[in-house]
Amino acid sequence: MIPMSWYLLFAAALFSIGLYGVMARRNTVAILMSVELLLNAVNINLVTFWRYLTPDRSVGMAWAVFVLAVAAAEAAVGLALIISVYRNRDSVVAEELDVLRN
């Protein structure tokens, strides 16, 4: 088998890319995509640990499925919100959405 750490590193790399995307992308849709990346990185982490440490129990797998479902739901809701915001504010640039300022 390949050492577990390769998968974890891979997940970490994905997570970092996702984190960078969340923090630095201008477009809200791109932020959402980055959030997906984050979630998927977490998923990989989960599955790796499951496969390498407790393959006989189904906890990790179930958890990963959970995360996938939540990610999907959250993507749907998030896109709906972005569309609503776009319709009200005419912009999807995160920097410009600061109504809750102060």
Partner: protein
């Protein structure tokens, strides 16, 4: 008569007039006629009862009386005090010879005055309209009130006379003072419009206040004497407290000097009530009251009460003046009496008001009595008191009749400005008012001491004789002083009396008022005659036994024995104990020529000089009083009454007003005491303001500052809220990383390696 009956009658003596007072005040005050009739009923009952009781006393054997002077005595427990009911203060009546002679004089004089008053106030004439001022020639509208007060006054006087104890005497004393105030100020709405040459008059209401307050000065001091009396003797009863035994006990207890002080305290009451110097100033102004009031108050009753009280406590005064006492009580009493007698006589010489002369004459005669007491001449003082009551009342009533006559004349000629009381405007009234003239003459002669015929002579002679006896036999210098001073005063008395009679009755009328005067009604003349009778005969009871010719004829100095019996045995015992001077132990003394010659000389001399100046060639209209030129500035001094009123006003009255209105009320109460309170109040307010400032600073501003800090902190924290989601993510990531690093560091022991 049985003793029980007499006792009951004695209790009833004051009841008639007192009852009359209540009934008149409450029920009959609307009917003037009913009121005076009731008043008459009251005093007539007193007259009958009083004389009955008195004559029963006189019927007793004199020697028996000397041993047991108190013939009637009865008392009831009055004031609860302590647990033993026997010790309660008692009130009661007692009659001894002194009481008896007083009853004879007082009841008779007051009855005469009541009869007179009905005529004086013009009952039967058209009713006067104005209240509170004299309505000349018209019936007095306030007649009921007059008789109510007079009845109360009579009741109080009789209460005083029959009282067996000092406290009840004081009650009667004070009530008389109140009546005097009310009656002097009877015409309370009257004001005077005094011209330059007129006789000065103060308003009746001021005169009433003056009388009340002057006597009150004396009364409050007397009250101290009264409480002292009870404290020492344990009883107010005269017979018990002033017995020889009791006095001896008291001297052993508190000492004769203390008794001397007590005597002086009580004597002060007499000084006030009997208008002696220095408290004499109220009596002349009391003339503002209606003349019957003057007669009652200033002859028969109130001023007599003052002397009567001193006579009642005579054994005490005797011990106080005695050899064991350190206080010169005898000198003080006799000195005041003699000085007053002389001073008042000099003033009377220069007075123009017919009542004014009589007022000062009263003061002077009272001085005679008091000087007699000071010498130890008990009988002389009493004797003179009685005779004086009769002839002075007579003189006052007669002067009232004169004034009435003058007012009648004034009414006739429609002159309401000339003072009808001013003797300078009289003259020739002998023809116009004969009864008044003759009775006035009798009274005047009694006052002057016209030898042998008049009562005044005998009583005055007795005083001279006693004074001379005290000096001659006992070496008591008081006697000499008294004799000389009183002789001079007697001379002046005769002089001014003759002056008064001449100016009023002799010669021709000096003004139309006197021209048209007429004799007064029967109501007024009848009492004059009644009193004149006594003014003559009352003295005959006191003719000494060894007086040339007349003495052996009567052979019984009745008055001396019976009056002397009251204190005879007490003074005798006290004298034996050495507590009183020998001149005080009353035994009738032998007749001596010197005092008789003295009294004859002064009386006849005074009358002669008076006649010489005023009677031989009576004054005519416009002619000035010859005395003015003769005496010069001294006359003004005498006419203005030695300026005592002005002195008292400056030294006493005005300062008192100043002290009351300004010093006590403004300065002390409002300024000082309230000043302190207001200061305290301001201090509290100030303290409160300080506390408020403190609270405002600490709890107000302080709390506000804390709030501001929080707000500033929040304001700075607010910078974090940019509203940009990505920045939130960045921040939270950084913090989470830091935290994770810290946790991991701790977990893996990295810190321990660094901080070794």
């Amino acid at each position: 008569m049985s003793e029980e009956l007499l006792t009951t009658l004695t209790w009833l003596i004051p009841v008639g007039p007192l009852l009359a007072f209540f009934v008149i005040t409450l029920f009959t005050n609307r009917s003037r006629t009913l009121s005076w009739m009731l008043a008459w009923a009251g005093v007539f009952s007193s007259l009958i009862l009083g004389w009955t009781v008195a004559l029963n006393v006189f019927a007793e054997d004199v020697h028996h009386l000397e041993e047991h002077p108190t013939v009637i005595a009865d008392s009831i427990a009055w004031l609860p005090f302590g647990s033993n009911a026997d010790n309660w203060l008692r009130m009661g009546v007692a009659v001894d010879p002194l009481t008896a002679v007083m009853l004879i004089m007082v009841t008779f004089a007051i009855t005469m005055i009541f009869i007179y008053s009905v005529g004086y106030h013009n009952w039967g004439q058209p009713l006067g309209k104005v209240l509170g001022v004299p309505n000349h020639m018209q019936e007095e509208p306030l007649l009921s009130r007059f008789f109510a007060f007079m009845s109360l006054f009579a009741g109080a006087m009789l209460l005083l006379v029959v009282a067996d104890n000092l406290l009840m005497l004081f009650v009667g004393w004070e009530i008389m003072g109140f009546c005097s105030y009310s009656l002097i100020g009877f015409w309370y709405a009257r004001d005077y419009d005094i011209g330059e040459d007129d006789i000065p008059h103060i308003s009746p209401r001021k005169a009433g206040i003056k009388a009340f307050m002057t006597t009150r000065v004396a009364d409050v001091i007397m009250l101290l004497g009264i409480v002292f009396f009870y404290r020492v003797f344990g009883t107010f009863n005269f017979a018990e407290a002033l017995s020889a035994h009791s006095l001896e006990h008291a001297v052993a207890g508190v000492g004769a000097t203390a008794l001397g002080i007590m005597s002086l305290l009580l004597f002060t009451g007499t000084v006030g009530k009997s208008a002696q110097w220095p408290l004499h100033v109220w009596l002349p102004d009391a003339m503002e009251g209606p003349t019957p009031v003057s007669a009652t108050i200033h002859a028969a009753a109130m001023v007599s009460a003052g002397v009567y009280m001193s006579i009642r406590i005579f054994p005490l005064l005797a011990v106080g003046a005695g050899p064991e006492s350190g206080v010169p009580v005898g000198w003080i009493i006799a000195g005041i009496g003699a000085f007053t007698a002389l001073m008042a006589a000099t003033i009377a010489v220069a007075q123009n008001d017919v009542k004014g002369v009589l007022a000062y004459s009263t003061i002077s005669q009272l001085g005679f009595m008091i000087a007699a007491i000071g010498t130890g001449a008990y009988v002389a003082a009493v004797f003179h008191l009685i005779t004086h009551g009769f002839f002075k009342a007579l003189l006052f009533l007669a002067s009232g009749s004169v004034i009435h006559g003058m007012e009648h004349g004034a009414h006739h000629v429609h002159d309401h400005h000339t003072d009808p009381q001013d003797m300078r405007y009289m003259g020739g009234l002998r023809k116009k008012m004969p009864i008044t003239f003759w009775t006035f003459l009798i009274g005047g002669m009694a006052l002057s001491g016209l030898p042998f015929i008049t009562a005044g002579f005998w009583s005055k002679d007795e005083i001279f004789a006693s004074a001379w006896y005290a000096y001659n036999h006992e070496g008591n210098a008081i006697g000499l002083m008294v004799l000389v001073a009183l002789a001079l005063a007697a001379f002046l008395t005769a002089f001014y009396t003759m002056r008064q009679i001449s100016m009023t009755f002799f010669g021709k009328a000096r003004t139309p008022l006197a021209e048209h005067a007429q004799e007064s009604s029967n109501f007024m003349t009848f009492p004059l005659i009644g009193l004149a009778f006594f003014a003559v005969i009352a003295g005959w009871a006191g003719i000494p036994e060894d007086f040339p010719i007349l003495g052996p004829l009567l052979d019984n100095n009745y008055a001396h024995h019976i009056i002397g019996a009251t204190v005879h045995s007490t003074l005798h015992h006290l004298s034996e104990m050495g507590l009183v001077g020998h001149s005080y132990a009353i035994a009738a003394f032998d007749f001596v020529w010197l005092p008789l010659i003295a009294s004859l000389t002064v009386a006849l001399g005074g009358l002669f000089f008076g006649w010489l100046m005023y009677g031989r060639k009576p004054l005519v209209q416009g002619q000035a009083d010859p005395l003015i030129k003769a005496l010069g500035p001294l006359h003004t001094f005498l006419n203005r009454k030695w300026y005592w009123d002005e002195l008292y006003d400056t030294v006493l009255i005005q300062p008192t007003i100043f002290v009351s209105e300004t010093v006590v009320y403004e300065w002390i109460d409002k300024g000082f005491i309230d000043g302190i309170i207001h200061l305290v109040a301001r201090a509290f307010y100030g303290f409160g303001r300080y506390v408020r400032a403190f609270e405002m600073a600490v709890f107000g501003d302080g709390v506000d500052w804390v709030k501001d800090q929080f707000l500033a902190m929040a304001a700075s924290m607010r910078q974090l809220q940019t509203g940009r989601m990505q920045e939130y993510v960045l921040v939270s990531t950084l913090i989470a990383s830091a935290l994770a690093f810290v946790v991991l560091a701790i977990n893996y022991g990295w810190f321990d390696q660094i901080f070794q």
